[in-house]
Subunit: 251 residues, 2 copies
DNA sequence: AAGAATATTGCATAAAAACGCATAATCGTG
DNA sequence: CACGATTATGCGTTTTTATGCAATATTCTT
């Protein structure tokens, strides 16, 4: 039996049964478990399945990438979320961008908060509805499946017509010289509109996003008032952002 | 059973029942309570649920109460949802109103569906993002906490600018003479705009909503093309709707 | 405040995975 | 064909992971 054949058969079994178990495959193909494990690792590397202890599973259908990202570095993100809470006060109108960190912030907002929350993320909107004394406003538009936010002309226009006290920007890449950048043009436009709509803007970025850049530029670093990141970032790195006049929270 | 499978099943149970209990899970999976507790802790760390003494709960009470409502009278609503699926075909642009029944419909949409879904419910938008080949468009506006739908002038205007093949209207009250009525003025305006935007409109209503009325009138019954309800309704009652030219599905 | 139910912690064990290495199969090339 | 190079596979060892058990701590109930 050829390796590629075996790989295909493994994928077929996975599709039919919703799971494959390494030891079963080993017996079925009369081949050592090592080889099966290698197969599973290769298929996982190729994105054909999700490797788990004991075997493999298909990608979970429900917005997989998003829930995956939700599980990444949860501790760092939680500490960022806690720091962000300090910027939020009663009476404010707050614009909350999509993204996993901002979702965590929303989840941690105290039940007692009295404010208006405007968001382009349906998920954050649903979460914010938990807060009795908070008005929730959803920005419409086409929904991006990967990031679960609305974008497009409708969203940009809606943002252009509003003015808010505080904006919490979810960022993909932040670079001292190249500024705020994202991989998608429409997202860049939406974020730019957010920057313009908000009096104060805070960017929430975990350590691995600092010093990186993507294709589309949103704005220079100086457009930010606050940068909130986790404690694992060195002071020298942070200084390069402080140089643009940004107040950095890091703990 | 693989650990990840178990985790997924726990999350499914949580979604369906609005809660999970450690001892129940232990018995159900025939596994020690220690392991279940570890599972619950891991899921809580990953932000997938909130750990509480005795078991786990979903994050937002909103989604919890919604899931509970989803469970109430599940059979009647599920059969309505199944019937509604028959109206939906590839290539359509579908407008989906908020409401538990419509959420059930969305959850049951097949992964293979190719269509555009427009909705005023952030929760339905999130659920629809599961579908790989579906474009999701969120209608913006102020979010009503009780029903988790957007409304207001923005929503109405957005609806006025579009034309869709099929509209699935969630209704509160349906009366042969008084027509479609809802308890809130803004919701009435939104639903009216939906009726105008859609080529064909189907109202999804469980038995207890028929023959009742609320304050604000949306439109007469004749504005509907289809009425989908459950089998517990007598033919005489249905005839009073058929008299307005509505095609009734009831099973 | 006491007792029951539930959680946490540390530890033991078995299963699974990873690693390094040896061997066999396959391939490309002159 | 022969040869070296690459690739695939299997074996033994070490490391990691999942799970259950016992002891202890915490929380809930009454």
């Amino acid at each position: 039996m050829l390796k590629e054949e075996r790989h295909q058969l493994i994928l077929d079994l996975l599709k039919n049964n919703g799971r494959v178990v390494a030891t079963d495959l080993s017996r079925k193909f009369e081949i050592s478990e090592d080889t099966i494990r290698r197969d599973l690792r290769e298929l996982a590397d190729a994105g054909q399945l999700v490797r788990v202890h004991g075997g493999g599973l298909p990608h979970s259908p429900a917005s997989a990438s998003f829930s995956e990202r939700l599980q990444q570095a949860p501790e760092a993100k939680k500490s960022i979320a806690r720091a962000a809470l300090q910027l939020i006060h009663d009476g404010q109108v707050i614009l909350i961008d999509g993204g996993t960190t901002n979702l965590l912030v929303t989840q941690q907002l105290p039940e007692s908060l009295r404010a208006t929350i405007i968001t382009n993320s349906p998920m954050i909107a649903v979460e914010a509805c938990r807060l009795t004394h908070v008005d929730v406003i959803q920005i419409g538009g086409r929904v991006y499946k990967e990031s679960l936010v609305t974008s497009g002309a409708v969203a940009v226009q809606a943002l252009q017509e509003m003015h808010v006290d505080l904006g919490l920007l979810g960022v993909c890449s932040l670079h001292p010289d190249l500024g705020i950048t994202v991989p998608d043009l429409e997202e860049a436009q939406v974020k730019r509109a957010m920057l313009q709509a908000a009096d104060q803007v805070a960017a929430l970025a975990s350590a691995e996003k600092l010093g990186t850049a993507a294709t589309h530029t949103v704005a220079p670093i100086s457009a930010l008032m606050y940068l909130i990141t986790d404690g694992s970032v060195s002071d020298e790195v942070l200084d390069s952002y402080r140089a643009s006049g940004v107040t950095v929270f890091s703990k």
